[in-house]
């Protein structure tokens, strides 16, 4: 099937239906047959079959049961093909535990389905996997995306992405699966790993939205959808709520973030009427609910900062003292040099550019930031505010030479050129 035909089919299905069903079907399959890699392939094939057949033949009465049935059939086919090569029957017996050869009655229970999906997320975002592997596997196994869609999102050949996913599955098998649900600190740590992977997926998609790419899978949209799902699974976790809020509050500005030629438009020059008010309202509500729970974390604080920006009617009316306080809080929660850079901007906005530059000089001693293009970009910005045009031009150009992002380089060069014009 061609890509166009595939997307045409999917368009006529309720949006996200297949992707939402994917982890629920895979969860049942893995619980029943244990072998994650084989089950994941079978579910992927069932999803592709559904995308082909449902638009033509109509939705089945119970789409989830349909998918499970087809996936089981594909699994059986795969096992048969395998056992024909090896010794018959042996593998079938080992793959299907005797007590689970009949469909589990517990399938319908909501509680176990919740654990299944969480379990899948924990597995796909296992700390032993590299971020790139975890991202690809999460998008396929939990997100229900096809390998082609994931490959397109990361602009790598399909065969490369297929290999990355299959290696990730192998290393999961190697670490050995844990069926018991972690509790307490272990649960928080595993949730943190999942949140990090979802945040990386979001950032990748958000950054790419300036790249002028024509057909890339909407990764930020997928990250938001998966984080919503995660939040339904752990509704009381304030950091997961904070992560969802941060994504919504950032994504709300997407339409204003690039100009007509695809150039970056900085926050203070964005047309705020293009911001998405319902995403802002939802994000603000989430972060307001999460903050009083007194289990503060970096995502909540970042979301709070985004909320202050989003709620300002104009750049001039931004509550910078509050943003500064939040950055100071964030700095205490996580030792991140980029956070410190943003804090320097907030210092400049509250106490003047000289104070911000002083803070930057202190940061330049941090080996993680020495010679970093972001440091030069911020210095250029603050020097410009301080009225030092030639100093700012030099910083912007050094930053432009250091960045590996074309959109960012163009933006920095234009800043330099704007200041360099004779007046």
């Amino acid at each position: 099937m061609t890509d166009a035909a595939e997307s045409d089919h999917l368009r006529r299905l309720p949006p996200h239906l297949l992707r939402d069903l994917a982890p629920r079907v895979l969860g049942v399959m893995v619980r029943r047959y244990r072998d994650f890699a084989v089950c994941e392939d079978a579910v992927q094939e069932a999803l592709i079959a559904a995308a082909e057949q449902w638009p033509r033949e109509g939705l089945p009465d119970d789409p989830r049961a349909w998918l499970i049935r087809v996936a089981v059939r594909r699994l059986t086919d795969a096992v048969r093909a395998e056992s024909a090569r090896r010794h018959r029957e042996e593998l079938t017996v080992s793959l299907v535990p005797p007590d689970e050869q009949i469909a589990l009655a517990a399938d319908a229970a909501g509680g176990s389905e919740r654990d299944d999906t969480l379990d899948l997320l924990f597995m796909c975002c296992h700390p032993t996997l590299s971020p790139a592997s975890a991202i690809a596997l999460t998008l396929r196994a939990v997100g229900g995306l096809t390998t082609v869609e994931i490959a397109r999102a990361f602009m790598v050949p399909e065969a490369t992405m297929a290999q990355r996913i299959s290696r990730a599955k192998q290393s999961i098998e190697a670490t050995g699966r844990q069926f018991e649900m972690p509790a307490g600190e272990e649960l928080a740590a595993r949730l943190g790993a999942v949140s990090h992977v979802l945040y990386l997926i979001f950032s990748e998609g958000y950054a790419a939205s300036t790249g002028g790419e024509l057909i890339r899978t909407d990764l930020s949209g997928e990250a938001i959808r998966l984080t919503r799902m995660l939040r339904r699974l752990v509704p009381d976790d304030p950091e997961v709520a904070g992560l969802l809020a941060l994504m919504l509050l950032t994504d709300a500005r997407r339409a204003a973030r690039t100009g007509p030629a695809g150039e970056i438009v900085p926050l203070d020059r964005q047309d705020r009427s293009l911001w998405n008010p319902s995403a802002i309202a939802e994000g603000v509500a989430l972060v307001s609910q999460a903050l009083p729970r007194r289990r503060l974390g970096p995502y909540q604080v970042q979301a709070a900062i985004a909320a202050v920006h989003d709620e300002a009617p104009s750049a001039e009316e931004t509550d910078w003292p509050q943003i500064l306080a939040l950055y100071q809080l964030l700095g205490r929660l996580s030792d991140n040099p980029v956070v410190a850079l943003n804090e320097a901007i907030a210092v400049a906005m509250v106490h003047g550019p000289a104070a911000g530059l002083q803070k930057l000089d202190a940061l330049a001693a941090d080996p993680r930031l020495a010679g970093h293009h972001r440091l030069e970009a911020v210095r250029g910005h603050l020097l410009e505010r301080a009225g030092d045009r030639s100093g700012a031009v030099a910083c912007y150009r050094r930053a432009a030479a250091g960045t590996a992002s074309l959109a960012e380089r163009d933006y920095l060069l234009i800043q330099a050129a704007r200041l360099d014009e004779p007046r």
Binding site: G212, L214, A261, G262, E263, R397, A400, A401, G402, T403, A404, L406, D410, L413, I414, A416, A417, R418, D420, E421
Partner: protein, 130 residues
């Protein structure tokens, strides 16, 4: 047939665009974006990438133990690849025409840069026997 079109920049110094006036810079950036979009819309673009500045570039060889050994900075005279397009076209002439269009990218004052574009055919699978 596929061709790789390579745009080179002389020397290891900063790219010439870095010191252009705002208007010229914006015109050049706009041209490059439209150019890639046009090639994609025509069904001819396989891949287009810009490369980070040579300041970050390294020459690597395998050392005695097989570990990467850096050869330090490049000689000042060396030409640098700043970006490339891979296009899939019907004829060599079409690849040359695309290269000429890229070469005429607007430079300072909006004048065509006439920057040299190296055109190389990408190797293809073996021919099918009749």
């Amino acid at each position: 047939m596929k061709y790789m079109l390579m745009m080179n920049h002389p020397g290891t110094g900063p790219y010439t665009v870095m010191s252009w006036p705002e208007e010229d810079l914006k015109r050049h950036i706009g041209f490059m974006k439209t150019f890639a979009r046009k090639l994609a819309a025509a069904g001819e673009l396989v891949l287009a990438e810009g490369l980070a500045t040579p300041a970050q570039a390294k020459l690597i060889r395998a050392g005695k133990n097989g570990q990467p050994a850096t050869e330090g900075v490049f000689p000042e005279s060396k030409e640098f690849l700043v970006g490339f397009w891979i296009v899939d076209v019907e004829t060599p002439a079409r690849a040359h025409a695309i290269a000429a269009e890229a070469s005429a990218a607007p430079g300072k004052g909006g004048e065509p840069m006439s920057i040299p574009i190296e055109v190389r055919q990408v190797m293809s699978p073996p021919p099918v026997e009749p």
